[in-house]
């Protein structure tokens, strides 16, 4: 969990993914589309990947990836991101965390 929090605090937008996860690909694409440059951590490619995955699950992220953090705060998984994008809150959060500028 500490590792997760630590990585999440290092950049305004942070996404935990797996190289085999295609929904992760979609969420990354959405962030790039919005002009954000999120830090991407592929849990199947890094050390402690499995531990971090368990930590994310305990946080309530199901499936464990993609897991999105903005401004160091856990935002949610794919479903949450899409819902927030539709009602405009995603953009607001990204602007507030200085992940994007208008």
């Amino acid at each position: 969990m500490d590792k997760v929090r630590d990585l999440a605090s290092k950049k305004a937008a942070v996404i935990f993914t797996k190289s085999s996860c295609f929904m992760c690909h979609s969420i990354k694409t959405l962030f790039y589309e919005l002009g954000a440059s999120p830090a991407i951590h592929e849990l199947d490619q890094v050390a402690n990947g499995r531990e971090m995955e368990y930590a994310l699950r305990r946080l309530g992220c199901n499936p464990s990836v993609p897991a999105v953090f903005i401004g160091g705060n856990y935002i949610g998984s794919a479903k949450d991101i899409i819902s927030l994008h539709v009602d405009g809150s995603l953009k607001d959060k990204l602007i507030e965390a200085k992940a994007i500028w208008l």
Binding site: C21, F22, S26, T29, P63, A78, I82, V86
Partner: protein, 326 residues
């Protein structure tokens, strides 16, 4: 004794009843009759009255029977048309109505549930249409609109279950009519397209509303693109997995690698369900956000406009299926 002509109560033109009793005059003459003639007249009168009544009842029964026949005939015609339509769409029609075989097939079960849902949805949309045209107040409209929005949730719940059972059926769009299938995207309609066709029908919109809807359209478009790209990555990866072939020999190494590839491909197919779920989530969120932006009256018009549009697509499908072919 004076006999007065009794008034005729039955105005039928049936000529089979003789209304004229012997010894009876309807004009102003005076007729003298004795006691026996009187009792015979009374019996005759009573008999005639009963005849008239029986004839009248018989005519009413005949009328009711004919009406029933005609409505049955209409129903039969409708059923024949539906059957024809379903056959042309290649759906399986069981003549024995075997419940066992139908419930075992997720696709058939979903098609039936969808048809029921659609029928109910159309009924509610017509109710809304009626309320709008009879100038119902906002409060009443709100109730009907809210019930329709809640009803949308039902079909998404049903789709989620159906995707677990048979994701390829939902993905294929075979549960929709041909013309609707033209526009099929990831298991359903494309939200940004729906918004595009609604914008012109919702005027007058305030500046704020127009801005909000434009933003919503853009957000939806972005989410659609993101999901589409994820799907494409999945397809590419699946193709790569299956194409990475080894020599055809049956050496243990090759067989093991073949099975490994199949296992990987199976895993990839398993993620399709999530794409449909997210696409449906996008549809639900977009509709909910739209109705947050609109007034009650505008919401009502939006719901009706959507219903009309898809009705027309379905009608087009029927025409297409019934077209003369060489």
């Amino acid at each position: 004794m004076l006999r007065i002509a009794s008034p005729r109560t039955d105005t039928s033109t049936d000529g089979d009843i003789d209304d004229k009793a012997p010894g009876f005059q309807s004009s102003q003459g005076m007729v003298v009759s004795d006691a026996s003639e009187r009792s015979r007249d009374q019996k005759t009168l009573r008999r005639l009255a009963q005849n008239r009544e029986a004839a009248r009842k018989s005519r009413l029964r005949k009328k009711a029977y004919v009406q029933q026949l005609e409505s049955s005939r209409m129903q039969l015609t409708q059923l024949e048309q539906e059957l024809q339509r379903a056959r042309q769409q290649g759906k399986y029609i069981s003549s024995s109505g075997d419940a066992q075989s139908i419930s075992g097939n997720g696709a058939l079960a979903f098609d039936a549930e969808y048809a029921r849902w659609l029928e109910e949805h159309t009924r509610r949309a017509n109710e809304l249409r009626g309320a709008l045209s009879s100038h119902a107040g906002d409060a009443e409209l709100r109730i009907i609109v809210d019930s329709l929005l809640t009803h949308y949730d039902d079909i998404y719940r049903i789709k989620a279950e159906a995707s677990k059972a048979d994701v390829f059926h939902i993905l294929s769009g075979m549960w929709k009519t041909p013309a609707e299938r033209c526009f099929h995207w990831l298991g359903g309609f494309r939200p940004s397209e729906l918004l595009k066709l609604l914008v012109n029908k919702l005027e007058p919109l305030t500046e704020q509303q127009l801005l909000a809807i434009t933003n919503l359209q853009q957000s939806s478009q972005q989410a659609e693109d993101a999901l589409s790209q994820g799907m494409e990555a999945l397809q590419q990866s699946l193709a790569d997995t299956l194409a990475s072939s080894n020599a055809q020999s049956n050496s243990p190494g090759n067989v093991a690698s073949y099975m490994g590839q199949m296992a990987m491909a199976m895993g990839k197919l398993g993620t399709l369900e999530n794409f449909i779920r997210q696409a449906d989530n996008l549809r639900q969120q977009t509709l909910q956000q739209l109705h947050r932006i609109l007034t009650t009256r505008q919401s009502a018009r939006a719901v009706i406009a959507i219903n009309d549009y898809f009705s027309r697509l379905r009608a087009l499908s029927s025409l297409w299926l019934a077209r003369p072919r060489e």
